[in-house]
Amino acid sequence: MRKIEPRVSRRSFTVGALLAAGTAGLPIMVKAQEGKTVALLFDSLVSPFWVSGIEIMRAEAAERGWETLEAISDFDDNRQFEQVRAMIEREVDGILIIQTDANAVIPAIRAANEAGIPMVHFNRPPAESDAYSVAIQADNRKIMQDTVQFLVDEAKAMGGTYKACILIGDLGDVNAIQRRDGFFDIVDQHPDLIEVVARVSTEWNADKAFAGLTNALQANPDINFLVTSSDFLHPQIEQALKIAGKWHPRGEEGHVLFGGFDGDEGAYQRLIDGYLDACGVQNLFLEVDMAFGAFEDLWAGKQVDKLLLDPGFVITAANLEEVRDQMWGYIVWQQQQ
């Protein structure tokens, strides 16, 4: 039997030396960046809104000469906390975070505060606490109020009475709550015109939305006024309305007054096809600009309010060409074309 000598041969020494030299050279390739470095910490990239969001952020950061480091927590609050600590170790200049849970993010804010690194929450504010951070958020309630008001005006103009259904998001998400409240702020003012017959809890889950809306349409076949708290549910809504024989464009008999929220590329397509009547748009470009502007202000030592609101806007067939350049979904739609 051959005996293998446990010694370092010339060949293994050469291979080892080459590997060591290669490894030592790597830091030169990733050498310290010029300018600022900002961490972009997302909890997921499950909807076009977030995918577009991170793309806009990358482009905006590059334009400002900033480096970005990215991480996705996959809805894991503990992982996101660890990611924040890792970014603190990397001595980034700012942390932009989209947290899953408003309460569980508080220790991460405290850690960033202790390290003196500004933290900006994008689209979702944290829960109230003694920790300091800045949140950029769409004025969900106002945008939804304006969207529903447009639908109500349309309903009044067409005459008749309406049976309404709302698709509500995850009630743990303050955005979902504000959008729901914006809907009822307006609908409750018109009890003679609109009766809300279905509240579908989607928990931001497309399957649940489809099942819930299908059930609602079976229980209330006369639903003719529909609002969704997010545009990412449009495919499920379209399918459910088609099954119920209610998918008709504006002007056709049986058209369901339909309002959306977010402003994605599907919403734009349905607006031009005539199936969607109005859409409350979060101005993603403005929100990114506000977030990065907040970093600059904080770096400059300025005091920034804890909550900065994006006023958003409502897009309809009437103002489509006028405002669509501010609609992020239109940009995505253009790229797809």
Binding site: R85, E89, N103, A104, I106, P107, G172
Partner: protein
């Protein structure tokens, strides 16, 4: 004989013809501490790329990051040694988190503001872990159900129940307002050592002694190697297996305490994404999925290896998809090493 089952790696250095000296690669692969060597090699390899990984604060972060995962992986080690598996641990973490938090929270908790809140809350965590573990063990041993079915359905049931429970106890998707004394378990330190480390040390040392220095531990190895033979030898197989699930459940509950304290929040999705990490850490350490082989110190090595990889990828700002791909590759690599090890042992 049963004791050597835990360290079977160096068993076959003799052949019929006399002593054979193994090559360094064979000795490395057969080493009980291979995972520690791999961790060291990986750490040294990434150090020049991410120098921040070797700072005192980064090392401290790594240590605290690994503790909850280590505690739950220690529980899983017991179940794997008897050739079982407990997939419900992450849902125990989540369910215990929200129920325990609902007892303690100052925002309308059952004992919110009471001096009994923290002890009662901790007891709730442990009771939930123990009871669910007992139920899993009961179904597997008394009803003869396969562990994978019992614990997988348990995972689904408890995950859903945790969300349902939270909606009944909070306006938001989580339960905050936990007492400072409880939060300190996950965040504070005593004598310069993180409290979570004290907890993990207590769990780890107890588990090590239980496995390596008691009759109960020997029973577990015997069951894992050959259940029938253990039964014939008078080992109370059913009872012993049932207790492994109880230990696993209690360890998951302790991990839940550490996670919940760390995040200051009881959340129904806590730990939902770490099931693969838990099982991978135990297996990478060297514990066999087929049972009969495993040590707590190996699990420590497996957890450490995963955490070092995870931390380096975080520091590099790698996307989650890269993290998944690398972790998957590492687990596959560990499986290949394990297969090579078995072949070398068989060859003698």
């Amino acid at each position: 004989m049963l004791r050597t089952a835990g360290a079977s790696g160096n068993a076959a250095t003799r052949t019929a013809g006399g002593v054979r000296t193994r090559g360094w690669l064979e000795r490395l692969i057969l080493s009980e501490y291979l995972v520690f060597y791999l961790t060291t090699a990986y750490f040294l390899a990434v150090w020049p790329i991410v120098p921040e990984i070797a700072t005192a604060s980064s090392l401290s972060n790594m240590l605290t990051d690994m503790l909850p995962l280590l505690v739950v992986a220690i529980g899983q080690t017991f179940v794997l040694i008897v050739a079982g598996i407990d997939l419900s641990v992450t849902s125990i973490i989540a369910f215990a988190s929200v129920v325990g938090a609902s007892v303690m929270t100052a925002d309308g908790g059952y004992l919110g503001g009471s001096p009994l809140a923290v002890p009662a809350g901790i007891l709730t965590f442990l009771l939930i872990g123990g009871l669910i573990g007992w139920f899993n063990g009961f179904c597997c041993t008394r009803l003869g159900m396969p562990p994978i079915i019992v614990t997988l359905t348990g995972l689904m049931f408890l995950s859903g129940t945790a969300i349902w429970y939270t909606t009944g106890h909070s306006e938001t998707s989580s339960i905050a307002g936990l007492p400072k004394a409880f939060v300190l378990i996950g965040q504070g330190s005593a004598y310069g050592v993180p409290n979570a480390l004290w907890v993990a040390l207590a769990v780890g040392i107890s588990a090590h002694l239980l496995l390596g220095h008691t009759v109960f531990g020997r029973w577990l190895y015997a069951i894992g190697i050959n259940r029938k033979a253990a039964e014939i030898s008078g080992v109370p197989v059913g009872t012993a297996i049932l207790w492994t699930f109880v230990i696993s459940g209690v360890c998951a509950a302790i991990a839940s305490i550490l996670f919940t304290g760390r995040l200051e929040t009881g959340t129904p999705v806590l730990g939902q994404r770490i099931l693969l990490d838990i099982i991978a850490a135990v297996v990478i350490g060297g514990t066999s999925l087929a049972g009969g082989k495993g040590k707590i110190v190996w699990t420590v090595g497996g957890v450490l290896f995963l955490v070092v990889i995870d931390t380096s990828l975080k520091l590099l700002g790698m996307s989650l998809f890269v993290v998944f791909a690398v972790k998957g590759g590492v687990i596959l690599f560990a499986a290949i090493i394990d297969a090579m090890r078995q072949r070398i042992i068989m060859r003698g």
